[in-house]
């Protein structure tokens, strides 16, 4: 098991290297001149040359890549083209907002999908299952921003039940933090919960028909033991794949939700950076997102090895 983790980790390194090259190449792909972006259209040629020199634009591309990646390895993403503030500290400041949003959304979607998928799968064909399946289909179809708007109108505008905008840090007030997270996280997580519910339901149904479930019952095990031990460990294999796919989806969803609920997170930061062509910020966000995806896949792979001992071979 430890060997497997190490092997997968070392396999991820070349991948991260390639991702870093692609991210860096954004320099070449984004149209426009950063120096012009910074100094404005009226700047003199000398000013522009000085800025280019400072940004290292005159160096060969490989030198620039190694300088950049060298800094990145120390978590230094340079400074924003405009504010001169360190990108790393700006991200560090906004990380709790985005992380709170994504994690609460994930927790909400698991809290909904685990029981819903399990109950629907174990009672497939009943009215209850049909209702849940219809609900899940609707959940998948509702766009998060539309749901967010609707929830804001109902819970914040028409009634005074929950705040519709802003963020309160968890250190400051856990209760306020939770209240502020509830609407955005629910809007973000509902579609995921619907997808996960459907996935879990179908894998529960398939697993229930397996011979080893009949064996477990033939042994006289209690019903809950059959479900929570013998069924769940096997049925969660496809569900974990689905969960792994949901994490990048949730992260990209934060961009829209942060905008809608005025949350000053990484998503908002990225959007403004793209609009301003603030390259160091864009590179940092792209690279971080890629790392999150790689790490998620790694976690999915490793949980396969735990859930399905056969994959531990080779």
């Amino acid at each position: 098991m430890v060997k497997l983790v190490l092997r997968r980790l070392s396999g991820a390194i070349p991948l991260l290297f390639i991702i870093s090259i692609i991210t860096f190449s954004l320099v070449l792909m984004i149209p426009g001149d950063p120096a012009l972006t910074i100094a404005g259209d009226s700047a003199s040629e000398q000013t522009l040359a000085a800025i280019r020199e400072r940004l290292g634009e005159n160096d060969p591309i490989l030198t620039r890549y190694f300088a950049w990646i060298g800094d990145v390895l120390w978590l230094d993403f340079g400074s924003s083209l405009f504010s001169e503030t360190s990108v790393t500290s700006a991200i560090w400041q906004r990380l709790p907002v985005t992380l709170s949003l994504a994690v609460v959304a994930l927790v909400i979607s698991l809290l909904i999908s685990l029981p819903a998928g399990l109950i629907a799968g174990l009672n497939s064909g009943t009215i209850f299952d049909r209702l849940l399946t219809i609900g899940a289909s609707m959940g998948v179809a509702i766009p998060s921003f539309w749901l967010g708007l609707l929830l804001s109108v109902v819970f914040a505008v028409n009634n005074d039940w929950l705040p519709a905008i802003g963020y309160v840090s968890i250190a400051e007030s856990p209760v306020e933090w939770f209240k502020h997270m509830l609407l955005p996280a629910f809007s973000l997580g509902l579609a995921s919960s619907a997808t996960l519910t459907r996935q879990l339901r179908s894998s529960v149904i398939t697993t229930m028909q397996q011979d080893y479930i009949r064996t477990a019952r033939a042994k006289g095990l209690r019903g809950r033991k059959v479900v929570f031990k013998h069924l769940l460990k096997n049925a969660s294999v496809p569900a974990v794949t689905s969960l792994g796919l949901q994490i990048p989806i949730l992260l990209s969803g934060t961009v829209i939700i942060e905008g809608l609920f005025s949350l000053n997170g990484i998503g908002n930061y990225a959007v403004s950076a793209v609009l301003l062509q603030d390259l160091p910020v864009v590179q940092a966000v792209v690279l971080l997102s890629a790392v999150v995806v790689v790490v998620t896949n790694l976690a999915v792979d490793i949980s396969y090895a735990y859930l399905n001992p056969k994959t531990r071979l080779q």
């Binding site: 009949r214 064996t215 042994k219 006289g220 013998h230 096997n234 859930l307 399905n308």
Partner: protein, 347 residues
């Protein structure tokens, strides 16, 4: 453990209450064609320490009969319509699921046809045996694990102590079936149901597994309901045989009697199609022409009449009932007294 004497072909004292008593069992299934009767009025008894073979072609209702006894009919698809199943004096039909869970694995245990899929791939074999021991014996993990190693050794798994930590996919088919058997006997059940325990195995392994079952049943004084489509298997280990066709028991006999003189044309057909010398998996020398009916289109009269070489006009109309011929024999044939059956014209 003392070895019981070799099988003489006589069942245990019939005055003692039997271990398993099935009476008028009717099982229905919800098929593609609606509700259909799968097991029709099955009545039989199994005495302590004896082995009863249940034989018939595929689809005759053998597995469904055994699953009904175990209370493992697939929910919402299969149901016991009527009849009684008594195990050790306890009526099982209508028992709550919780009570059935207490009995399953403890008083009765079951081995299935496919060892490859019957063990959970996600847990070690030792764990899968030990959890059952803990469930019924209420012992701690250590003792349960020791018991798992003990039974794995008993069924002939080499290096049981280390193999207990292996996963099912790390065993061969024959060894997996041994693991299933070890699991089944781990709580010393009184009744062992083996549903085609050797069908999925290589020919050479089949004989070993049968011999193992035979030995265990004697050593532990268990009763066994051995289900197979192969009369050769019954000949090796059973005292008594039930022949099943299209959901009905068509003949009941001591194995020795059945071999000497079948009293039902279907039994005769099975005997004739049984390879005498060639390995059991080789092509059938001869087989009964035609195929069994679908449960939703059972023929009128005697259900075997479309395939029976002795069928007369009345076999199409008159219902054949199971008639007791002697203390040990019954036959469901309208012409049982007229026919001179043997091993298919060999005599």
């Amino acid at each position: 453990m003392t070895m019981s004497e070799p099988r003489t072909g006589s069942p245990a004292d019939t005055s003692a209450p039997p271990l398993l008593e099935v009476d008028g069992l009717m099982v229905d299934f919800n098929t593609d064609q609606g509700w259909a009767n799968i097991v029709d009025n099955a009545t039989f008894r199994l005495d302590r320490g004896t082995t009863l073979g249940l034989v018939g072609e595929s689809g005759s209702g053998k597995s469904v009969t055994s699953l009904a006894v175990m209370g493992l009919l697939p929910k919402s698809v299969g149901r016991v319509r009527s009849g009684s199943i008594r195990l050790d004096g306890t009526e099982l039909t209508g028992l709550s699921e919780r009570r059935m869970e207490d009995i399953r694995g403890d008083t009765m245990a079951m081995i299935f046809q496919e060892p490859a899929t019957s063990l959970n791939p996600a847990f070690t074999v030792g764990d899968q045996i030990a959890e059952m021991v803990r469930r019924h014996r209420g012992v701690n993990r250590r003792l349960a694990w020791d018991r798992a190693i003990e039974v794995l050794g008993e069924v002939g798994i080499p290096n049981a102590r280390s193999r207990a930590k292996a996963y099912p996919h790390e065993f061969s088919g024959g060894m997996r079936q041994r693991v299933m058997i070890a699991m089944a006997i781990s709580c010393e059940p009184r009744l062992l149901i083996a549903d085609e325990p050797t069908t999925a195995l290589d020919v050479t392994i089949q004989a070993q597994v049968l011999a193992l079952l035979d030995r265990l049943v004697r050593d532990h004084d268990m009763a066994m309901l051995l289900i197979t489509h192969d009369l050769g298997v019954i000949a090796q280990v059973s005292d008594e045989a039930l022949v099943m066709y299209a959901g009905q028991i068509v003949e009941r006999a001591l194995v020795s009697e059945l071999y000497q003189l079948p009293r039902h044309p279907y039994s005769e057909g099975l005997l004739v199609s049984m390879p005498q010398i060639a390995p059991r998996t080789s092509a059938r020398l001869a087989s009964i022409p035609g195929s069994p009916p679908m449960p939703w289109q059972q023929p009128s009269g005697c259900r075997f009449h479309p395939r029976c070489p002795y069928a007369l006009e009345r076999c199409r109309h008159d219902e054949a009932i199971l008639v007791q011929l002697s203390e040990t024999r019954s036959s469901r044939c309208l012409r049982v007294d007229e026919l001179d059956l043997g091993r298919g014209g060999n005599e």
